[in-house]
Symmetry: C2
Subunit: 409 residues, 2 copies
């Protein structure tokens, strides 16, 4: 017998049952943005590969310039010029200087570069230094930027544009990343019709599959819709069996009738051990939620109402994806003032959809009541708040924590 689990218990069970799938694939840099590194990236060389001047100027020993000023320039004997891309074969001795271009390699003995602006030549074999500089000035030391053998990007990093820059600098044209999680969305329920159909009677178009498809993609998954399956245990079994062969996570979306739910539980248990691991969550609207594991694959059965399916996927589907990928997706929270009382809910936690309004520089949270089952709730809600199971309800004007749905808010 299954008991309904609390939110916390459900998240723990997800964490324990589902382990990261570590399929690795190699992609080119152009295709690597947003992917997750499967290995540490170690610098394969020093960058720069030698002590490099960052300006046009004169390579010097810094201590030879100490005390130099515009009114009291220090003469240094000019030795051969350093040329771009040519390794200097000489060593700089005391009171010598050598012209060096930006990017040029410092000779042995030199430890700083004086910018041309602070040096003057009079064709007398000397350069007159007008400024005292410290060791290291205008020099990028070998390996100062990227050090050979050092980890520059860690395994599990989600690669962004800047990271690709580092890879490009090291000449790494391909990287090993984890394969995207393969997600299939199976719509079930006799009342669900395709979106190009004209619903008759209680029929509704297959809204949820499209909502979940978008969310799964937003969370980095390779997601697709399988289509609508009639509410028949054998058909559902066959469809899930096939979907589980080709995917890591299968979402069962659609009808919320009692009959369909019984069907689903039976089918999920028939698909393999351990079968259903969560049979309802003690949160409104999480009661019809099913979570199962079979044939090493993950299955999530969602409530039927679009806004309910959305919030449950957003919380528990996300937790499953996190467990299966080791990714962490950060939610954006804001604090807002409640515009009205929210009455107590009896023995269950509750996710309340919230519309936000900015008023005199303050966020106001408007709970969207009585909209359960409405499709428009999907776009009316800017986020949700969670009323704890133990709470006796929230009073108007309370400061509440709202989790945002749209990051652009």
């Amino acid at each position: 017998m299954f008991n309904v689990k609390t939110i916390q218990e459900t998240l723990e069970i997800i964490q324990n049952e589902f382990k990261p799938i570590r399929t690795v694939e190699r992609v080119s840099l152009d295709q690597s943005y947003g992917r997750v590194l499967a290995t540490d990236i170690v610098a394969n060389q020093d960058i720069p590969p030698f002590h490099r001047s960052s300006v046009d100027g004169y390579a010097v020993r810094a201590r030879d310039t100490f005390g130099a000023s515009e009114s009291m320039p220090v003469p240094l004997a000019l030795v051969e010029e350093i040329r771009m891309g040519v390794r200097p074969e000489f060593s700089l001795s005391a009171n010598q200087a050598s012209y060096i271009p930006t990017g040029g390699q410092l000779p042995e003995g030199a430890d700083a570069v004086v910018m041309i602006e602070y040096a003057e030549e009079f064709n007398d074999g000397f350069v007159y230094i007008q400024k005292s500089i410290a060791p290291g000035n205008n020099v990028i030391y070998q390996g100062d930027d990227l050090k050979q053998g050092k980890i520059v990007l860690s395994k599990n990093t989600t690669i962004n544009a800047q990271d690709v820059g580092i890879l490009a600098a090291l000449g790494i044209g391909e990287v090993d990343v984890y394969a995207r999680l393969r997600v299939a969305i199976v719509s079930t329920g006799d009342e669900i019709v395709a979106i190009d159909a004209i619903p008759v009677g209680a029929q509704v178009r297959d809204v949820n599959a499209y909502v979940i498809l978008g969310e799964a993609r937003r969370l980095g998954c390779d997601a697709h819709r399988v289509g609508i399956v009639k509410d028949d245990a054998d058909l559902i079994y066959a469809t899930l069996h096939q979907a589980m062969k080709e995917n890591d996570l299968v979402i069962l979306s659609g009808g919320s009738s009692v009959g369909m739910k019984d069907n689903s539980v039976e089918v999920l248990n028939r698909l393999g051990e351990p079968g259903v691991v969560i049979h309802g969550i003690a949160v409104k609207p999480g009661k019809p939620t099913l979570i199962a594991k079979a044939q090493g694959k993950a299955i999530l059965g969602l409530p039927g109402h679009p806004a309910s399916a959305f919030v449950i996927f957003r919380i528990f589907g996300k937790a499953m994806i996190e467990a299966l990928t080791e990714n962490k997706f950060k939610e954006i929270h804001i604090t807002a003032r409640l515009s009205t009382n929210i009455p107590s809910n009896h023995g269950r936690a509750e996710y309340i959809p919230i519309r936000l309004e900015k008023k005199e520089g303050e966020w106001i949270a408007h709970p969207l009541f009585g909209k359960s089952g409405m499709i428009s709730l999907l776009s009316l809600a800017d986020g949700y708040l969670c009323i704890e199971r133990e709470s006796e309800g929230y009073d108007r004007d309370r400061q509440v924590d709202v989790v945002l749905y749209r990051s652009e808010d």
Copy 2:
């Protein structure tokens, strides 16, 4: 003659010179996530299409139930049952009730539904109502969810998963969206080599093109690299000319030598009127920035150092993309305490790269000095702060506003 412009002047010139490109294309719902709507979406039907029961129960006239309770149930005469998907042809009169399934259509005269839990039948032709209910209870009125003729999604909305749900509910399988901005990245500079080359001397790999590619894609553009062009005015002219034919925005990335910059200005002016509109921005590191318009296309020339190119693209490239698309990209700001003094900068605003550290619940901002030209700065910096032109520098412990580079921080 051009003068260096302030940040604000530059943003205003961008706003004035570049107007939205409104190429429209039609995409299927599956491909519509993240795209920008080119039209308002008007509900093409009422949802629900009739007054619908949201529960299994009895359709009634609410006022007939007033005063009903468990101890004093109200008997209502049963009339014919309502069947799913069948339009009731009768009208409900006073003190009548009709069984109705979830999703069923209310008959004329009925204005509420009593849940079966609060009704009892004894096969005497009556149903005994045990609860007083209000008009509208357990009913979703026709058009209550989505109202025919009403705008449900506005033009310029970036379509998210929930929005696709609304479109699916209305049976809208394809939508008109604005074409993605086409962005070409041209790398120039004799010292720039391909990432699979071994740099010799002052040569550096083409880091910037990859960084800008990733950022442009993150901002929703259809971006690609054109490759590396030698620092020759005619070659650059020919490459830009071709790139401008096929793209909306061309990024000139790479070398920062004075010679190359002169070349670029000449070429950009040769490409057409008005040519260069921004020739340097009064911000460190924005001095080498070029912004041009020719043949109705936009061109942005970036500084050569990777971290400089990144921050300039992040601010001014983004502003150009916003002007060309009407999109607004929100930056995430956090307040942090400065870990050290930042000395004044003379007459120019300055973008200071910042590494963030969380310490006892507080964000500490560590300025990354002396790293100019370093590639590692790209991944060391979590964001940047802007020191205003008028400022004499910031003191340690000051609370500063940091704009984040990575949204996951």
